[in-house]
């Protein structure tokens, strides 16, 4: 059986764990812990090693989704997780511009680790404070050819759309 993987990365609290939970056919193997740093306590728990979800195509092909830890002190995991990936999704919280700088750094790091296709998912687009995609593109300094897509991590269709856009980019790359 062939297994392929995609990586879901992004700053702390961008919605990576939720994204994987929404489409995974198994309960996400999540390594979440209570947050000890009061400055980062915008939510109760955070991923400390990785999240792991699965989508089975058939008995001969399985797609694994790996979510990276959100906190910077676990960034040593990134390179390990990115090895052999099909592509990656950078999730950015549209309502927290203070995380855009970190998102730029994460994107640059993943581009350096592995030259695979990627898309940027602008998460929490259903919230009223969400930045518009054009503004986020400018703030994240994304080139025109990079896809930035609206995303609601708890919405299955929205998550599917992100995955399909990334697979579309991969297919385009293979056909190019």
């Amino acid at each position: 059986m062939l297994t392929v993987k995609m990586v879901v990365t992004g700053p702390f609290n961008a919605g990576k764990t939720e994204f994987i939970k929404t489409v995974s056919e198994i309960d996400v193997v999540s390594t979440e812990r209570k947050i000890s740093n009061p400055e980062e306590r915008v939510k109760e728990t955070t991923t400390v090693a990785m999240d792991f979800g699965r989508i089975t195509v058939d008995e001969s092909l399985v797609l694994y989704l790996f979510g990276t830890p959100g906190q910077k002190r676990f960034d040593f995991m990134w390179e390990i997780l990115s090895e052999g990936m099909l592509g990656f999704i950078v999730m950015v919280d549209s309502t927290r511009p203070e995380t855009f700088r970190e998102a730029r750094g994460i994107l640059a790091a993943f581009r350096a680790f592995s030259p695979t296709p990627y898309v940027v998912a602008a998460s929490k687009q259903d919230l009223k404070d969400a930045w518009e995609l054009g503004d986020m593109r400018a703030a994240l300094r994304l080139e025109d050819e990079v896809k930035i897509l609206p995303c609601i991590s708890t919405d299955k269709e929205s998550v599917k759309n992100i995955l399909l856009e990334l697979l579309g980019s991969i297919l385009t790359e293979l056909e190019g």
Partner: protein, 277 residues
């Protein structure tokens, strides 16, 4: 136990803070990836600083320091280089004061500025080893100064914060840079300083940022600072260096052994499966 360790665990700023709080006397020896430095303290104050390499050590001689501070001119410097061979800085300083070339205050202020400049360079060292030797004092032939460390520590903390920020923005120096094709931006009209122009002259997708830093003789902090400025101004963007593996190469590693038609078929199957969820 001897005070020694790794700069990744204990930064130069933290070491200065320790020396300051404990009123320590002795030498802090720091060995970075490319060069070393020796800082001498007396009762928690900086008394002397020296970079280990020969060229830098020559720059630390009293005539050179006074010349850089514009207290002596080119002709005087050349005269001193010829005649002051073998003379200690203390002897030479007295001679210059008695001859009316400089005042004692000018000598001390020039040396202080030079030693502070060395400490500022050390703030950019994030890798290396350190060791504190309480037995060492200022060399006999050198002029000691007394510099309080508080301002230096504050300055160092600022630089560390800047370092942290730049490391997030530009985490990987193996990326290359290319000019953006923004309409209306003419590089010649942009006000760049000498260092920035030097970096700009090497910008090419073939050159990694690390290679540009090496060619421009800049450390990691200096090159990140300049690249960050150029990125912020929208003049350049980060790209993978030419010759680096392409996206197709990356995809090959995701499908070991599979040929292109098989890879495309696999992706199509994945697309169909996800549509069906």
């Amino acid at each position: 136990m001897a005070l020694q360790g790794d700069l990744q665990d204990f930064t130069v700023t933290q070491l200065l803070n320790l020396v300051n709080l404990a009123n320590k006397s002795g030498a802090l020896l720091i060995q970075g990836p490319n060069e070393g430095a020796r800082l001498i303290f007396r009762q928690g104050r900086l008394a002397y600083a020296q970079l280990a390499n020969e060229a830098a050590a020559a720059q630390g001689s009293l005539p050179e320091v006074l010349h850089r501070a514009e207290h002596i001119n080119d002709a005087q410097l050349n005269t001193l280089r010829r005649r002051a061979v073998g003379m200690s800085d203390k002897e030479l300083g007295l001679l210059l004061i008695n001859a009316g070339y400089v005042t004692q205050t000018e000598i001390l202020e020039s040396l202080q500025a030079y030693y502070v400049s060395i400490i500022q360079q050390l703030f950019t060292w994030v890798e290396g080893r350190f060791k504190f030797d309480a037995r060492q004092d200022v060399p006999q032939n050198k002029i000691p100064v007394r510099i309080a460390l508080e301002d230096l520590i504050i300055d160092g903390s600022r630089q560390m914060a800047e370092w942290d920020q730049l490391s997030v923005e530009i985490p990987n120096l193996d990326m290359a840079l290319t000019f953006t094709d923004r309409p209306g931006v003419n590089l010649k009209k942009v006000n760049l300083n000498v260092e920035e122009w030097r970096v700009v002259s090497y910008i090419n997708p073939k050159n990694s940022i690390r290679q540009i830093a090496k060619a421009s003789k800049m450390n990691d902090l200096e090159i990140r600072r300049i690249v960050y400025g150029l990125l912020q101004a929208g003049l350049v963007r980060l790209v993978r260096p030419e010759g680096a593996p392409t996206r197709l190469d990356g995809l090959q590693s995701a499908f070991p052994g599979a040929k292109k038609p098989e890879q495309k078929a696999l992706i199509t199957r994945l697309i169909e499966r996800i549509r069906s969820i």
